[in-house]
């Protein structure tokens, strides 16, 4: 259930997916050395769906979404993103990364480039968009995340919230089909969290397919189609937000919720 339409929508037409299933993970396992980080992960994400993934730290939630754009390599099982299966094939990896945007906990903006250059870099070099056009697109998205006036500044001159919104704009400039958010508000000062969440809500209202690792339960209730709870590398429980928060089934979920919802 979506909250009553707010004026936060970004008016972005997400690029059409080629397939109905945006992300399909089947029997995925991953190890760091001997440590089994991800165990038999199965999840299907339909186009336009918004998944919130939560769980205690070290539960493997970040690792899981990082497998979707191959920042982490999985060892067994299948990861299929918009019909493209991720293997060691570099071409496939590039193809997936072009269409999957990612927002990080620590923004990972490029400090030596201006905000505008951060946004135009990938379109120019990866999509071969002419510079002028890329700048127009970047200005458009910077306006949408409400910081067009910062285009000429360097990331270090912005507040954390502004930096994270630039990071979102940077990802959007590639016209992604899917957006991954890896704890986008965890490194922010409390006062900055709302502006970033508002931007993400707007994105959701435009129908973007989103996988969000976050502990912002308010955001999960408002935006998510499904909440996935992970612990020690496994998916423990997945349900609609109402069911998940009001009637958690698994003991571990109940414990987790009792710890975070005061």
């Amino acid at each position: 259930m979506m909250a009553a339409t707010t004026n936060t929508a970004l008016h972005i037409k997400p690029t059409q997916l080629n397939t109905l299933i945006a992300v399909e993970i089947v029997g995925m396992n991953k190890w760091y050395g001997d440590f089994h980080v991800l165990r038999d992960i199965d999840i299907k994400v339909k186009g336009g769906e918004r998944i919130v993934i939560c769980g205690p730290s070290g539960s493997g939630k970040s690792t899981m979404i990082r497998c979707i754009n191959r920042l982490e390599e999985h060892q067994t099982g299948r990861v299929v993103v918009d019909g493209v299966e991720l293997t060691n094939d570099l071409k496939k990896i590039d193809e997936v990364r072009r269409d999957v945007g990612m927002v990080f906990q620590h923004f990972n903006l490029f400090p030596h480039l201006t905000v505008l250059e951060n946004c135009t870099l990938a379109p120019i070099w990866v999509r071969k968009t002419p510079k002028r056009e890329a700048e127009e697109i970047a200005q458009h998205y910077l306006k949408r995340v409400k910081i067009p006036e910062q285009a000429g500044k360097f990331p270090g001159q912005l507040s954390g919230g502004q930096q994270q919104r630039v990071a979102i704009a940077r990802a959007l400039c590639m016209n992604p089909k899917i957006m991954l958010f890896d704890e986008p508000t965890s490194a922010l000062d409390p006062e900055m969290v709302k502006e970033v969440l508002d931007t993400m809500v707007g994105l959701a209202e435009d129908g973007m397919t989103m996988l969000v690792v976050t502990h912002e339960m308010g955001f999960a209730r408002q935006v998510a189609n499904r909440v996935v709870f992970m612990d020690s590398g496994q998916i423990i429980e997945a349900n609609t937000p109402e069911e998940f928060f009001n009637h958690p089934q698994h003991e571990r979920t109940k414990l987790f919720l009792s710890q975070i919802l005061h």
Binding site: N69, L71, G101, N108, P111, H112, V126, F154, P155
Partner: protein
């Protein structure tokens, strides 16, 4: 003891400031020359002792130096008699006429006199490049690297070695010498070592075992061997393996040796810079879809090289001084021309060697200090624009 209003304000639980405290200038003891002296030279007992010791050291060295280089120095003369105490009947300092007369040899070595204008043109081209590089507001600064890495090497190679087709007499490198050779060797080392060092540094961090192994072996081998050995190998061993007619020029062999040697050091300097780049930068670049070479070229190297500039220049300064070692394979670099000249019987006096070495010291000091200042200035400039 009565309490002032301020004390009362601190003592009270409830306090509201009624008037803003205006900013006042600092006390006199902190201002002007006196303030500077107190702060920097006389701040603590230990500092006072150090100041005195250093003042004594200066008092001990500087007068003698000035007396030798300027007051007692001989400025004119035709041969050794001008600089001999017995002939002149006075204390004799530096023998400058020797340096003046030998200066062309110090600069050009045995480069044929009618062709020496070519060396001058080369020096001017290099000077233009350096000014272009240092002058931050210069037009078309983006082309500096093209000029330095492409235009200058090719044109100066043609200019210095000669090309019959355009009327430039070939000049055998055996005749090259002096500052010309020092500059050529140092400059080739500088121009080659940076790109090669970057490649080696990237290779050492590569995920491909073969590339990594090659880089590690190359870097560790070259770094584990003295430059003298590399030069000997390049000039003595190489001809044993290569047929006579293919055997490269002696200077070229030394150049290759020095360039490879400097590259190995540069690789380690660059690697340190690469390691300082946070993992998030790599991930950010990969996540927006950049490939490996784009990621390195656009994101990682610009940041890594920026923080490495002081170390790069430090390596260059070392390289500049290391060029003096080419004398052991019979190449007449600047220091070697001084060495040869100082034993010339025409100028044989007790002060000739000292004079020659003083000239050499000043030459190296000027160049190395200039490089060091450049590094400091760049560092300061980048620190100002560092907005991480």
């Amino acid at each position: 003891m009565t309490m002032s209003e301020g004390d009362l304000a601190v003592a009270k639980i409830h306090f509201v400031r009624s008037a803003t405290i205006e900013a006042k200038p600092p006390p006199v003891s902190m201002r002007g020359a006196v303030g500077w002296l107190r702060e920097n030279l006389l701040s603590t007992k230990f500092n006072i002792i150090l100041t005195l010791l250093i003042a004594l050291l200066f008092a001990w060295i500087v007068p003698d130096l000035v007396r030798f280089l300027l007051i007692d120095a001989v400025w004119t003369g035709a041969d050794r008699d001008a600089c001999r105490e017995i002939v002149q009947n006075r204390a004799i300092g530096a023998c400058w006429p020797f340096a003046f007369e030998r200066w062309p040899y110090f600069v050009y070595g045995s480069y044929p006199i009618p062709e020496r204008w070519r060396v001058d043109v080369f020096f001017s081209m290099l000077a233009i490049g350096v000014v272009w590089l240092l002058w931050l507001g210069a037009p078309r600064r983006g082309l500096v690297s093209v000029y330095f890495f492409v235009v200058l090497p090719i044109s100066s190679f043609i200019l210095l070695t000669g090309w019959k087709a355009i009327g430039l007499q070939p000049v055998d490198t055996v005749l090259w010498g002096g500052i010309l050779v020092t500059i050529v060797v140092a400059w080739v080392g500088i121009v080659v070592s940076l790109p090669l060092g970057i490649l080696l540094a990237l290779g050492r961090r590569s995920h491909m075992p073969a590339v990594r192994l090659f880089s590690v072996i190359f870097i560790e081998f070259v770094r584990g061997v003295p430059l003298v050995t590399v030069l000997f190998m390049a000039s003595v061993m190489l001809p044993l393996f290569v047929p006579e007619h293919l055997s490269p020029d002696k200077l070229l062999r030394a150049l290759i040796g020095i360039a490879l040697f400097a590259s190995a050091y540069m690789a380690e300097v660059v690697r340190a810079g690469l390691q300082a780049i946070p993992k998030g930068q790599f991930e950010g670049a990969m996540a927006v879809g950049l490939g490996y070479s784009q990621m390195m070229r656009l994101i990682v190297l610009p940041q890594a090289l920026k923080i490495t500039i002081p170390n790069i220049v430090n390596t260059y300064i070392g390289l500049f001084k290391d060029t003096t070692l080419v004398f052991i394979v019979g190449i007449f670099d600047f220091l070697h021309t001084v060495e040869v000249s100082r034993i010339d019987p025409k100028w044989a006096t007790p002060v000739t060697s000292t004079t020659g070495y003083a000239v050499a010291a000043m030459f190296y000091l000027v160049f190395c200090y200039a490089m060091s200042r450049y590094a400091r200035a760049t560092e300061a400039r980048l620190a100002k624009s560092e907005r991480r």
